[in-house]
């Protein structure tokens, strides 16, 4: 078979499968919506998850080298980012299955699944872009579905309010990126990244340099919004609080992953010329995010806002990757995205379990406050497996060895040291100590506080009789967090990515 004649579609297969799944979900939903809602409510989620899973498998077996399609490229790093995105999407879809109310089918199920898939497709496009327009389209596609998803509980005013807030901020961010891209295009006259890099090295005329720097600033601002880092972090707590549960999970893990992937693509790629100029900026932004996130999380008692502030602080740590040498920074980012993603999804999973056990004991009361972290009180006497899971995930987020979160932070710290940023390292380490407080606090509550509902304390440990799928998934998550942190598999795989 002549290699140059036909366009090799195999490296593109995961993207195509995801796109086809999206279309399939839309079509099936359009044709069979009523029928499915009554007879097979899990058909559409199954279809979506199936497509995502196939896409993940294809990514796993695809060659590491990838292929360059001129404006769209499947790069080795891009392949790993895609794997991270599909894993996180699968996690969110799985979480959705465990957290949906069993009794009534979701309104507009097809739309929900399609929006999630579309956002992920947008993220794929973002990391594959080789020129500005593809990047912009990917960024838009990765953000706009989230607006609709946040508003999905349209009967609740908080959901709609959160969506409006997100729209305003997202619109601002879109505008920033449009300004930035147009400045960068204007200063070099070309949309492609390669031509852009060539122009940067060739000309150093002052107006062009200024425009290039301004363009980079605007783009950084736009992506900082998406990653919920200082100074654009204000939207996160309110939006997380208003969004439906699985959407909150998606925002917290996948949306952040997308932003970090985009930043890695740009600032370790065409915008690498800004490295020296922006170093102090990254430093300040990273430390400020950590401090603001920490301060906010310390006093939080609502789960959604706690997750939001904790993720702001985590984003602060991830931004430190931009102070590290290129290769180390990229590896550290992917590892951290996976570690943070697993840990946070696991946290959502165990929190969901805790909510369900609370509901069981209080007699199916679903009107109670679903967001209050104090509901964790006495969890160890109701469900010791969930309490242990919560402890493992919270400590992983805090960065305690041998869990995955520690290894992620360690890679970031190592990168900092390689570039002699010892003062920043000391401050970042101090922030980890502060962060341990608010993570350990809730472990303490789960293990020692008096349970809210009095009847629970007479309940004997019933977890041993309920070894269902949830239990084993929880065990699997804990094993993953322990194994991937202490064993070299993931680290070796990341190191083996060809340049």
């Amino acid at each position: 078979m002549p290699a140059s004649a036909a366009l090799p579609l195999l490296p593109l297969a995961p993207d195509l499968i995801l796109g086809l799944t999206l279309l399939a979900v839309i079509v099936v939903d359009a044709l069979f919506a009523k029928h499915l809602a009554i007879r097979m409510p899990y058909a559409l989620p199954a279809l979506a998850m199936g497509g995502t899973f196939i896409s993940l498998l294809l990514l796993w077996v695809s060659p590491a080298q990838g292929h360059d399609y001129a404006n769209y490229a499947v790069t080795p790093m891009g392949r790993w980012w895609r794997m991270a995105f599909t894993l996180l999407l699968l996690g969110v879809q799985g979480l959705d299955l465990f957290s949906r109310p069993a009794t009534k089918p979701r309104w507009r199920e097809g739309a929900f699944q399609a929006l999630l898939l579309a956002a992920t497709l947008g993220m794929f496009a973002m990391v594959s872009s080789r020129e500005w327009l593809t990047f912009f389209i990917g960024l838009e596609l990765a953000t706009l579905p989230l607006l609709a998803l946040t508003a999905f509980h349209s009967q609740r005013s908080m959901s709609v309010e959160a969506a409006i807030k997100l729209t305003v901020f997202a619109g601002l961010a879109m505008a920033f990126s449009a300004f930035g891209i147009s400045l960068l295009y204007g200063s070099t006259g070309s949309l492609s990244f390669i031509a852009f890099s060539q122009q940067v090295h060739a000309t150093s005329v002052v107006p062009a340099e200024t425009y290039r720097l301004l363009g980079a600033f605007f783009l950084a601002g736009s992506l900082l919004f998406k990653v919920a880092g200082f100074p654009f972090q204000m939207w996160a707590p309110d939006v997380y609080q208003g969004a439906p549960f699985p959407v909150m999970a998606y925002l917290a893990v996948a949306s952040k992953a997308a932003a970090l992937a985009a930043m890695a693509l740009l600032f370790f790629g065409p915008l690498a010329y800004t490295f020296k100029t922006l170093q102090s900026a990254w430093l300040i932004l990273a430390l400020a995010s950590q401090i603001i996130g920490n301060l906010g999380a310390i006093r939080q008692t609502r789960f959604s806002r706690f997750i939001a502030y904790s993720s702001i602080a985590q984003a602060g740590f991830f931004l430190l990757a931009f102070l590290a040498p290129t290769r180390l920074g990229q590896e550290a980012l992917i590892f951290n995205v996976l570690a943070y993603g697993f840990s946070t999804l696991a946290l959502f999973f165990f929190w969901n379990g805790a909510l369900k056990s609370q509901r069981e004991v209080s007699g199916g009361d679903t009107e109670g406050d679903q967001d209050d972290l104090h509901g964790l009180g006495g969890l160890v006497s109701r469900r010791p497996d969930l309490a242990l899971g919560l402890a493992v995930t919270l400590f992983s987020l805090a960065g305690i060895p041998p869990l995955m979160g520690f290894m992620g932070k360690f890679l970031l710290f190592n990168g900092l040291a390689k570039n002699q940023h010892y003062a920043v390292l000391a401050l970042a380490l101090a922030n980890t100590v502060v962060a341990l407080y608010y993570y350990a606090k809730w472990v303490l509550v789960a293990y020692t506080a008096k349970p809210d509902v009095p009847a629970i304390s007479e309940c004997s440990v019933t977890a041993e009789s309920k070894r269902g799928a949830e239990f084993w998934i929880g065990v699997g998550l804990m094993a993953a967090l322990l194994g991937l942190g202490a064993l070299p598999f993931l680290l070796n795989a990341l190191r083996a990515i060809p340049r």
């Binding site: 040291a417 010892y422 350990a440 606090k441 680290l491």
Partner: protein, 503 residues
């Protein structure tokens, strides 16, 4: 891998395996849980004793003038190749004896805790994980591996105090965890600094010891590392976590924390800070020695004023642990040998006293000096053990306290660090203080009129006697016949001392 190398790995693998096995036993089956825990601890003691004997037969010695420690029972394999971290495990005399100490204290602690009746499963699982992390810390010769094992002990300590402590346990658990995390973070800063220096490739401790680090680097890295470890090792003024922590912890955990866990700090100071950064050590020895002397006196004076038995022993621990640091800062053979022997001696002594206090508390339900008196009449066994431990604590010749404190003071007086003889002279006062607070405390509760909120009182049962005897045996052996241990320690310390004596 040789059989002995497998056995050495078994010391840290066995408690983890026991913890996993315990997880499968139903929480209602307290009998089996306790039995399995005792068996696991006993097997660990047997392995440690066997390995100690094998080590003494083998006696690995570093060649004259070498700065590379000679290790026995080595296991070295690739672990995280992309970070150049290896799974490098072995022992020299210091590690071996500390492993032996750990195994004996874990066994004693397990025996002392067999009277527990609620949440038994969680308690013993956490204790086993704690033991595993500690064993690993003493035998790891790769810095990242050492850090991993050290941190493994953080979460069990947190949960054990939070769940099984007394008094303000939530507060104490959080305070202890945050302080220890601060210490770990300082250590991590030092470690990351070390491995990113030019010439350093990987985390292998022995390889790093061959590198002459830049003096500017040593001058900031040494205090950072030393402070980080010293926080764990209970050096004034970073000892703030320990009185509340020890007092609020359950008996077995107090024994373990004060007896072994704090020694990881002093061990780290020796093995990482002083070994790798000798010039930095020479520059910073005096300030840290001053802190050590201050801590010894502070602990002593504070112990005089205590009204609660556990706080009394906790401050006594602060005082004795400070002497370890004094010995280390002397930077000579006598001082360091004394420091390591004090690690062992104090481990046994403080574990014995906490064990006895725990038994007294179980019977009388009080820890206040004013509520207790004349206990010797009703609990003679516990009383005699308490007196033996007390005398060891104040340095009576023939017991381990003297055998370890004498070299420390000798080393301090003959040290080449400027100003150290004066600091040592001042810290001699600690002997008087120790005598006062020990004798007063022991006298008040053991002699005089029999006084207790709960009567009648029973003496120790067989398992408690075993626990106390195991620990007292350590005190006696170390005190009556320290020669073989001292010789081995001297040969292990030679590579560490060599660059210091060169200056």
């Amino acid at each position: 891998m040789t059989l002995n190398a497998w056995l050495l790995n078994a010391t840290w693998l066995l408690p983890l395996t026991a913890a996993i096995a315990l997880a499968f036993i139903s929480a209602n089956n307290a009998q089996s849980i306790k039995r399995l825990s005792v068996v696991a601890a006993l097997v660990n003691v047997v392995i440690a004793l066997y390995l100690t004997r094998a080590f003494f037969v083998l006696s690995p010695t570093a060649p004259e003038g070498s700065t590379r420690s000679a290790l026995a029972f080595v296991t070295q394999m690739a672990w995280l190749p992309s970070l150049k971290a290896e799974f490098f495990v072995g022992v020299d005399a210091i590690s071996m004896l500390l492993v032996l100490l750990t195994s004996l204290i874990v066994l004693a602690g397990t025996l002392a805790s067999l009277g527990m009746d609620r949440r038994v499963k969680t308690f013993f699982i956490m204790l086993q994980i704690l033991a595993s992390g500690t064993y690993g810390s003493f035998i790891a010769f790769d810095l990242l591996l050492f850090f991993f094992f050290n941190e493994l002990t953080l979460i069990p300590t947190f949960l054990l105090i939070a769940l099984f402590g007394s008094g303000r346990r939530d507060f104490a658990a959080m305070k202890l965890t945050l302080f220890l995390m601060l210490g770990s973070v300082l250590v991590l800063l030092g470690i990351i600094g070390l491995v990113n220096q030019p010439g350093a490739s990987g985390f292998n401790l022995l390889n790093l010891s061959q590198i002459n680090f830049d003096l500017d680097f040593q001058n900031w890295a040494f205090p950072v590392l030393f402070l980080g470890f010293a926080l764990l090792g209970n050096l004034f003024p970073l000892h703030l976590w320990s009185p509340d922590g020890h007092a609020s912890a359950p008996t077995a955990l107090s024994m373990f924390l004060a007896g072994v866990h704090m020694k990881i700090g002093a061990y780290g100071c020796l093995r990482v800070a002083i070994y790798l950064l000798p010039e930095g050590a020479a520059n910073w020895a005096l300030p840290f020695a001053v802190l050590a002397a201050a801590g010894a006196l502070w602990g002593g004076f504070a112990a005089l004023r205590q009204t609660d038995l556990k706080y009394w022993n906790a401050y006594a621990s602060v005082s004795h642990c400070a002497l370890i640091f004094l010995g280390l800062c002397a930077l000579n053979a006598d001082g360091m040998r004394g420091a390591v022997m004090q690690m062992l001696s104090h481990g046994f002594i403080t574990a014995t006293i906490f064990c006895a206090i725990g038994m007294i508390y179980e019977r009388t339900h009080t820890r206040r000096f004013t509520d207790l008196g004349g206990l010797m009449r009703s609990m003679p066994f516990i009383g005699v053990i308490l007196i033996v431990a007390g005398f060891a604590s104040l340095g009576l010749p023939g017991l381990s306290g003297f055998a370890s404190e004498l070299p420390i003071f000798l080393g301090g007086f003959t040290s080449s660090v400027r100003g150290l003889p004066w600091v040592t002279g001042i810290s001699l006062l600690v002997l008087v203080l120790a005598a006062i607070y020990t004798l007063r405390g022991v006298n008040q509760i053991l002699h005089g009129l029999l006084k207790s909120p709960v009567l009648p009182l029973s003496d120790a049962v067989w398992r408690e006697r075993m626990a106390l005897l195991i620990l007292s045996a350590g005190i006696l052996v170390l005190g009556l016949y320290p020669q073989p241990w001292a010789e081995q320690l001297d040969s292990a310390l030679r590579p560490i001392l060599h660059p210091l004596q060169r200056n």
